[in-house]
Each structure stands twice: as structure tokens, then as C-alpha cells.
């Protein structure tokens, strides 16, 4: 392995590795569905898991990496959802052409809103930023409720059901690719430096406004993509589903997974989508448990489930992965039966 790595260069090696892994994962999912291992209901569950992953990963970009807390994420999702739904309702093209265009339109329109809202909002910090984004989110919702062409308070009905597992898989992969490459680039490090110390990074010549708006816009655009998938999955859009509650739900995923860990967001999105499905009788208490999760995680484990751990195939294969090392250490300790002090 190491010899191949040296021969073709590290970057190219990881790209090839990840592409192969992605194709393999898709083949496995495809096989599971087509050979009937997953029944229809279970395979349909993959879709909400997919758009929740996109939502959580995109919110993590601003809340985790940039260190600013926006509370209007559902607003961007609704912009994307409505834009794409209005597009597919208006045009009559074959689905294979229409749906990617709709997703693109969703991403672009949410990105436009991201810039428009981000430019003024990101002049503020902390609590004020949270409140102003909450305000923008609510304004978006109120406006959608009062417009004629969005169906108003009754919602937008009869949207074609284009969302399939394949499309969701492609969108999730693209989202992860965009976020990962962004965060591993120079721009990503600039975003991280703003989280660590805004004044210091500004003093080192980083244009904080530019990078804040960049992260905010990318996050908004991805939320728009999730909105498009959501709209064409449920085939109905109700403005009341995009309120403050929805934004909080996404926040719970990010916080539980660990602020600043894409891998954590993915795990938490999967768990929090599946959990209520498995525990149907428990659904009454779901929201109470969500609230408790937020409070308890913040008090006892502010770094969330995964902390700042990032998944990397390359590191796992070469045995440098920290998570793997920890798991190995646990097994090792059990085998040798010795109590090790201090870690």
C-alpha cells in the first residue's frame, strides 16, 4: 500500500481510495435493496437519513468549523425546497434532466439567500448572530406563508416524487466531498482560525468577513439541496414545518455528533433518524429526549459523541487512525487485564 502511495502521490492516492470506497458503498446499498435484504419501508428510510446527513453536515460547517451559531438553517432548507418544487411544477422535462436542474436551482437560490442574509448578519457575533438568523428564518417562513404562488399557509401540493435513493446518495457524496475538500484546503484552515480566535486571524491577514460569508453561503446552499430532496420526497411543502423547531432539530444532530466533526454529524444524523422509527411507541417522548440530549451533552460532554474526530480511510488502512487506536487500546487492556493509569 505504502509503495503505491509513494508512486502516485498522496492526494491522488486518497482520491482513488475514496472513489473506490464510495462506489463499493453504493454497490452494497444497491444490492441490499435489490436482493430484498432491505424491504421497501427500510429502503425508503434511506432517503430521510440522506437529507438529514446533508442538513447536519452543512450546519456543522458554520456551527462547528466556523464557530458561529445560526438558528435559521430550516429557512435555507425551505428556500431550496420551494425553489426546486416551483421549478419542477412549472417545467415538463424528463425526470433525469429535470431533477438535477431542480437541485441546482435549489442550491443556487439558497446560496443567494445565504449571501444576502450572511453579509449583514455576520457582522454580529455569538448570541446576536443566533437571534438575527432566527429572525431571518422566521421572516422567510412568514413571507412564504403570505405569498400566493407558494401556496400560502396551505402549502405546496402535488410535487412530483423524484427523490430516489440514488439521487440522495449522489447528493450526500457531493456534500461530503465539498465540505471535506473545503476544510482541508487553505480556505478551510482560515475558517478554523476564525473559530479559534477571530481577532488574531484578522491580524494575520485573513479576511474574516469573506470567509465567514463563504462558509455561511456554502452551508446555506447545501441546506437548499437537502430542501430539494425533502420536497420531492414528501411531495408536499408546508411552511410550518420549517420553523425554529426544525432548525433546533438539526442543531441537536450537530451537537450530539460533536461540534466540528463531519463524521460525528453523519453518525448523529443516522442515529437520530432511525431511533424514532425503531421506537414508535416512544415517539411521544422523542422531543423531551432531544431536549435532554442537548442539555446533558453540553454539561457532561461538550465535545459530543465524536469530539473532533474525522474519518479517513487512508489513516485507517495505514493504522494511524486515532479512533482505531483507542479501540485497539481498549481491547489490548481487556486482553492483558492490566489497569493502565492515565491516557
Amino acid at each position: 500500500m505504502d509503495r503505491i502511495k509513494e508512486k502516485i502521490g498522496k492526494t491522488r492516492y486518497t482520491y482513488i481510495l475514496n472513489t473506490l470506497a464510495t462506489i463499493l458503498l453504493f454497490a452494497v446499498i444497491y444490492a441490499l435493496i435489490n436482493f430484498g435484504v432491505l424491504n421497501r419501508y427500510q429502503s425508503l428510510l434511506l432517503i430521510p437519513i440522506g437529507f438529514n446527513i446533508i442538513l447536519a453536515v452543512s450546519l456543522n460547517l458554520t456551527a462547528g468549523y466556523l464557530g458561529q451559531l445560526p438558528l435559521g438553517h430550516a429557512g435555507f432548507m425551505s428556500v431550496g425546497g420551494y425553489a426546486s418544487a416551483l421549478f419542477t411544477l412549472a417545467v415538463d422535462l424528463p425526470p433525469a434532466v429535470e431533477f438535477p436542474l431542480a437541485i441546482l436551482i435549489a442550491a443556487l437560490s439558497a446560496a443567494v439567500f445565504g449571501v444576502l442574509i450572511g453579509l449583514p448578519a455576520l457582522r454580529l457575533k455569538g448570541d446576536y448572530l443566533a437571534i438575527i438568523t432566527l429572525g431571518f428564518g422566521e421572516i422567510i417562513r412568514v413571507i412564504i406563508t403570505n405569498l400566493k404562488f407558494t401556496g400560502g399557509a396551505y402549502g405546496l401540493k402535488g410535487i412530483e416524487k423524484h427523490t430516489t435513493v440514488t439521487w440522495v446518495f449522489i447528493c450526500v457524496t457531493l456534500t461530503l466531498f465539498i465540505v471535506q475538500t473545503l476544510m482541508e484546503s487553505r480556505h478551510g484552515r482560515a475558517i478554523l482560525s476564525i473559530r479559534e480566535d477571530e481577532i488574531a486571524s484578522e491580524a494575520s491577514g485573513i479576511s474574516t468577513t469573506f470567509y465567514k460569508v463563504l462558509a455561511f453561503t456554502v452551508s446555506a446552499a447545501l441546506a437548499g439541496v437537502a430542501g430539494a430532496l425533502y420536497a420531492h420526497y414528501l411531495s408536499i411543502l408546508d411552511p410550518n414545518n420549517f420553523g425554529f423547531m426544525k432548525s433546533t432539530e438539526i442543531l441537536v444532530m450537530v451537537v450530539l455528533g460533536g461540534l466540528g466533526s463531519t463524521f460525528g454529524s453523519i453518525v448523529a444524523a443516522v442515529v437520530l433518524t432511525l431511533l424514532p422509527e425503531w421506537l414508535r411507541s416512544f415517539s411521544e417522548y422523542r422531543m423531551v429526549v432531544y431536549a435532554l440530549v442537548l442539555i446533558l451533552v453540553m454539561i457532561y460532554r461538550p465535545s459530543g459523541l465524536c469530539g473532533k474526530y474525522e474519518f479517513s480511510l487512508d489513516r485507517i488502512i495505514s493504522g494511524e487512525d486515532e479512533g482505531l487506536k483507542k479501540i485497539k487500546a481498549i481491547f489490548h487492556r481487556k486482553k492483558s487485564g492490566k489497569e493502565e493509569v492515565g491516557e
Binding site: L71, L124, A130, E138, V142, M298, I299
Partner: protein, 290 residues
């Protein structure tokens, strides 16, 4: 005449916002925390009132006193359990915890009281005519009670020992501690006082709107927060002024533009204020030290 009565309506809801905003402002001044759960205490206060009146059959004054006591105790409890362990953590963790507490209160009350709205009677029925115009008694009571409370609060913060301690802690809690002020007690007292004011606001709110539901607090709370920010967070006269401005704007929007757009107008005002003068109308701007 319609305009005048809309202004009076605005003053009424505005003074309720102002009472809630005072709590936000005091808490923010002292622990620099946007207490999201503050608005939901309105809901708790209303439900305690409802429970006392219609389930236990208590007299109105007794229910009001119980409601104020429960809210104050709850405010202190929330601070001790949820916020105190995080006092030295990053602000984003505190904010998320506060959202969690708000979420918890809303959902617990949905479990306990079901999401169906409940009705409460008006303690102050009837109308009086002043100068040829008809005013509901409850409107006048609301405005009068709020004015008395605001004056009392200002006197308390200026002159009493506890008030001085509160100001000292909000100025600099470390130094206040060195001067022999018990910071923990002061913070608890602030939370209790703020939540007690919210309970009063919830009584006044129930009298004029008569319908309560588990999620009623979140929008009310957010608007009160907008009022606190508008007036300048950390400033008590600012919170009162902000509350009244928000109330009047809201009632004028409802009367002349559209009742559905009222929320959007309130947030619009907030956004404009934050962009032009982030420290609010009466707030003082704090420069960040490196």
C-alpha cells in the same frame, strides 16, 4: 380614534413585552447568557395559574401568588442545574443549553397538559370610558401594574444592597467577588426576580388573551428578547422602552397592514436596529479587548 385605541393596545401588549424583556436584560447583564427558556416560563406561569384556578379551584389572588412563586423557583432551579456548570464554557455551549431548556419546558408541558389550548377567565372584565373613549379595564390594569413594577424595580436596583450587588456582578463578577459579594446568590436572585416578573406578565397576558398553549412562550419570549435588544441589552430603561416600541409597532401593523405580517415586522425592526446600532437605543457599546 381608531389610531388612539391601537396605540393603547400597543401599550398594553408592549408593557407585557417590557416585563419579560426586563428579565432577559437583567440575566444577560449578569451572566451574558441569552436565556431562551425565559419566554417559556410565561407558559409555565400561565399553566400554573390555570391549574390553580380550574383544577384546584383556588381564589384568583392565591393562584397568582402560587404562579409567581413557582416561576421564581423554576428560574433559580434552571440556573443551578443547567447554566451554573457551564459558567466558564464557551458561549455557544451556554446558548445551546438554553435552547435545550426551552425545548424541554415546551415538550414537557405538551406531554403533561396535551397540546390543546386551554381557556382562562379574565380577572378584570368590563369597560370604563375616559374622555368619551371606551377602554377595557384589563388594559388599564396591565399598563398600571407594569408601570408600578418598573418604577419599583428601578428603585430597587439603584438603592438596595441586592440591587447594588447585581450591578456590581454585571460590571465585573470577579472583582465583585473580591469585594465580598456572593456572586452565586446574586445570580440566583436575578433569575428568581426575572422569572417572577415573567409570572406577573403571564397573568396579565392571560387576562387579555385568555387562551394558553404549550408553545405560546416561544414567540412571546423571542419578541420580548427583540425588545430587550432594541432598547439596549443590559439596560433596564432600555428594556421598558424597547417593549413599548415593539408593542406599538406590532399593534399598528396588525391594524393597518396585515395581522400575519406582524411577526415579520418585529423581526425586521430587530434586524435594522442590530445593523445600525448593535448596542441598542440606550445600551452602551463595549469594545472587545485583546
Amino acid at each position: 380614534m381608531i389610531f388612539l385605541s391601537q396605540i393603547i393596545n400597543g401599550l398594553q401588549i408592549g408593557s407585557i413585552y417590557a416585563l419579560v424583556a426586563l428579565g432577559y436584560s437583567m440575566v444577560y447583564g449578569i451572566v451574558k447568557l441569552l436565556n431562551f427558556a425565559h419566554g417559556d416560563i410565561i407558559m409555565v406561569g400561565s399553566y400554573v395559574l390555570w391549574f390553580g384556578l380550574s383544577r384546584l379551584g383556588l381564589a384568583p389572588w392565591l393562584s397568582v401568588i402560587i404562579s409567581i412563586t413557582v416561576c421564581s423557583a423554576l428560574g433559580m432551579l434552571i440556573e443551578k442545574v443547567a447554566y451554573k456548570p457551564l459558567r466558564n464554557s464557551p458561549k455557544i455551549s451556554l446558548l445551546i443549553t438554553a435552547i435545550g431548556v426551552s425545548y424541554l419546558l415546551q415538550n414537557l408541558s405538551q406531554l403533561i397538559f396535551t397540546p390543546n389550548p386551554r381557556m382562562l377567565p379574565n380577572f378584570f372584565p368590563g369597560y370604563v370610558s375616559i374622555g368619551g373613549a371606551q377602554f377595557a379595564v384589563v388594559t388599564i390594569v396591565t399598563i398600571a401594574v407594569s408601570v408600578v413594577i418598573m418604577i419599583g424595580l428601578s428603585v430597587m436596583v439603584k438603592n438596595t444592597k441586592m440591587g447594588k450587588a447585581m450591578r456590581a456582578v454585571s460590571e465585573n463578577s470577579d472583582v465583585a467577588q473580591l469585594m465580598g459579594i456572593n456572586v452565586n446568590n446574586t445570580i440566583s436572585f436575578t433569575f428568581a426576580l426575572g422569572s417572577g416578573l415573567v409570572a406577573v406578565a403571564s397573568v396579565l397576558y392571560c387576562c387579555s388573551y385568555s387562551q394558553i398553549e404549550p408553545t405560546m412562550g416561544s414567540m412571546l419570549g423571542i419578541k420580548a428578547f427583540v425588545a430587550a435588544v432594541l432598547g439596549g441589552i443590559g439596560s433596564l430603561p432600555g428594556a421598558m422602552l424597547g417593549g413599548i416600541i415593539i408593542g406599538i409597532f406590532e399593534s399598528l401593523t396588525k391594524a393597518y397592514i396585515s395581522s400575519q405580517l406582524a411577526d415579520a415586522v418585529v423581526f425586521g425592526i430587530l434586524i435594522i436596529v442590530l445593523l445600525i446600532r448593535p448596542s441598542g437605543i440606550l445600551g452602551k457599546s463595549i469594545r472587545e479587548k485583546v
